[in-house]
């Protein structure tokens, strides 16, 4: 019938998937390819000419000490944030599925930080760190205490605290879904076999929730690696550029210093690092998945 001809298929495709495919190509595929081309030029963002410079941008990116410092900082920040986010989220999920009163209320409450954008959250916390904590510390210790945001290590700690607070509620929801997916039968069977509550937890429930762990780790790693909004509003890279994360460095390199080619090359390196870490984690995680 006519339904199997190629022209019919193409017509159908264009009618239904045409707009989606075109938009997808316009904002993702074309810019991605064009972006790779830009890394071989020394474009300044204004002139019509984009002089070809070969691999010079990559050489400059590898020699850019600030970039590698930012990337290293991002790695440290991500390790702390990811670990703490997942520990807190798992603990919260355990508490809100244990059957205590008002657990649905708590569940919705812990999710609230996710509703609000990073920019606004950053400013809220800036107020908390600069004013409320300072007032609290001064009242306890006497005199005027310095703000956490005024020292390099303090600013990093502040970023980690805010990220943990921001994402824990979201990851909690995934862990809650994981807890719910482990059937009561299995847990009951293990307790009949003589497991204590904590043995059941670590030897039965947690291994069965492996998929939730893989997913939460993937989501939190990929989000932490490209953190920008909170970084911008909470610390703005201060003090003395000691809290500039990789994404902010890329933004500044391209849009503030107008080194578009170099900025783009650094963005691509960030993408490769992020993709390698994310994919490796998922592969390792999937390997040992068990089923009940």
């Amino acid at each position: 019938m006519k339904q199997n001809t190629l022209s019919y298929k193409i017509k159908q495709y264009l009618m239904f998937a045409g707009p989606g495919t075109i938009l997808f190509f316009c904002v993702v595929i074309v810019p991605f390819i064009y972006g790779v081309y830009l890394t071989f030029t020394s474009w300044d963002g204004v002139s019509a000419k984009k002089p070809w410079v070969g691999l010079a941008n990559y050489a400059a990116a590898f020699a850019d000490k600030d970039y590698w410092a930012a990337l290293g900082r991002t790695a440290i920040y991500s390790i702390f944030a990811v670990v703490l986010i997942n520990i807190l989220a798992f603990f919260l999920a355990y508490l809100v599925t244990s059957g205590v009163k008002g657990q649905n209320f708590f569940r919705s409450g812990f999710f609230v930080p996710n509703l609000i954008g990073g920019i606004v959250l950053g400013y809220v916390w800036k107020f908390v760190f600069n004013r409320a904590f300072v007032a609290l510390a001064s009242a306890i210790a006497g005199g005027t205490a310095p703000s956490l945001l005024s020292t390099p290590n303090g600013a990093m700690c502040a970023l980690i605290i805010v990220s943990v607070w921001q994402y824990a509620g979201y990851m909690m929801l995934i862990y809650v879904a994981g807890f719910m997916s482990v059937s009561e039968d299995v847990k009951e069977a293990s307790s009949i076999d003589g497991c204590t509550a904590s043995q059941t937890m670590w030897n039965v429930t947690v291994p069965l929730m492996r998929a939730s762990f893989v997913q939460c780790l993937f989501l939190s790693i990929t989000r932490c690696f490209v953190v920008y909004d909170v970084n911008l509003s909470l610390t703005k890279g201060e003090p003395f550029g000691s809290s500039v994360m990789a994404a902010m460095h890329v933004y500044n390199q391209a849009f503030t210093y107008k080194n578009y080619g170099l900025g783009q090359a650094e963005a691509l390196i960030l993408f490769v690092v992020c993709a390698v870490v994310g994919v490796t984690q998922v592969m390792i995680g999937k390997k040992g998945e068990v089923e009940a």
Partner: protein, 287 residues
């Protein structure tokens, strides 16, 4: 019997402890918001002298709100955010569900498999990789920045792959082919079949996609800040950032601006929290 009673008592105690731990954590979680709410009704001098006091020495004031609203251009900004979020969300749902429909129903066609894989693979690309070329092409070459429509279409383009993936799963598992065949026999065109038979059956996925994307669009900062640089086009996150840059010393106004930026979505959450929590969970677990 005594064993049972003992166990029941132990359970009660452990529940009470867990409840207290939850309450403490909950207070920690909402404390930053509470601080903003407390301070928004104080004068600048009172906030500076004691940000922890419930009521300032100069008493209760409502003055921060009208001034912040005026300086932030709140209603314009709110309107921009609304227009952009609502139209991007509707377009995303229409465009990506249709794309998913064609891809599911042409699984043997290599071209569709290719587009599907391309979209899935593209989901790992962070926005940072695309922002420079985007500004270069749409700002430099085509000169279409500073239009709401540009931002809306870009939002849709970025969300198509993820939304398509979710609709793909829903159509493949929930919509039997026989249903469509029956509609065709009854004289429906493909277009009618899709919108009258298939799409209404996708409601749960539509809700999930709508919630996830609407929240992302509403809160997005980086892309809008690159596309919309004119003051009258600002969305709430950009306006908050600009406001803070100008009035950061006037802390009372900042408090009011921050609260105004958070209020719309918090009010929505009070009414729709069940759906939002469900939608986000469904989206996270599938994606």
């Amino acid at each position: 019997m005594t064993e049972n009673e003992k166990a029941a008592r132990q359970k009660k105690i452990s529940h009470a402890i867990m409840w207290i731990v939850l309450l403490v954590l909950f207070i920690c979680f909402i404390a930053p918001f509470l601080l903003v709410v407390i301070n928004v009704f104080k004068t600048k001098a009172d906030i500076t002298s004691n940000p922890l006091a419930l009521i300032g020495a100069h008493g209760f004031t409502m003055k921060n709100f009208p001034e912040a609203m005026k300086k932030m251009n709140f209603w314009t900004v709110f309107g921009n955010s609304m227009i952009i979020t609502v139209s991007s969300t509707i377009l995303t749902i229409a465009v990506s569900s249709m794309t998913a429909f064609v891809i599911v129903r042409n699984q043997k066609w290599k071209f569709c498999t290719f587009i599907f894989s391309l979209m899935i693979a593209s989901m790992v690309i962070p926005f940072q990789v695309l922002m420079v070329p985007l500004v270069s092409v749409y700002g430099g070459t085509l000169g279409v920045l500073n239009h709401r429509l540009t931002l809306i279409l870009m939002h849709v383009g970025f969300s198509v792959s993820m939304a398509m993936f979710m609709f793909h799963g829903a159509i493949r598992t929930n919509i039997p082919l026989e249903l469509e065949e029956a509609a065709t026999i009854d004289g429906c065109s493909r277009w009618q079949t899709y919108w009258k038979i298939v799409f209404p059956l996708l409601k749960p996925t539509v809700a999930t996609v709508a919630i996830i994307n609407a929240m992302a669009y509403w809160n997005d900062y980086l892309l809008p800040s690159l596309v919309l640089t004119k003051k009258e086009l600002y969305t709430i996150p950009i306006a908050t950032q600009a406001f803070y840059g100008t009035y950061s010393t006037d802390i009372g106004l900042v408090m009011a601006a921050l609260l105004l930026a958070m209020l719309p979505i918090l009010i929505l959450y009070v009414f729709l929290q069940r759906y939002i929590v469900q939608g986000v969970t469904a989206g996270a677990v599938k994606g």
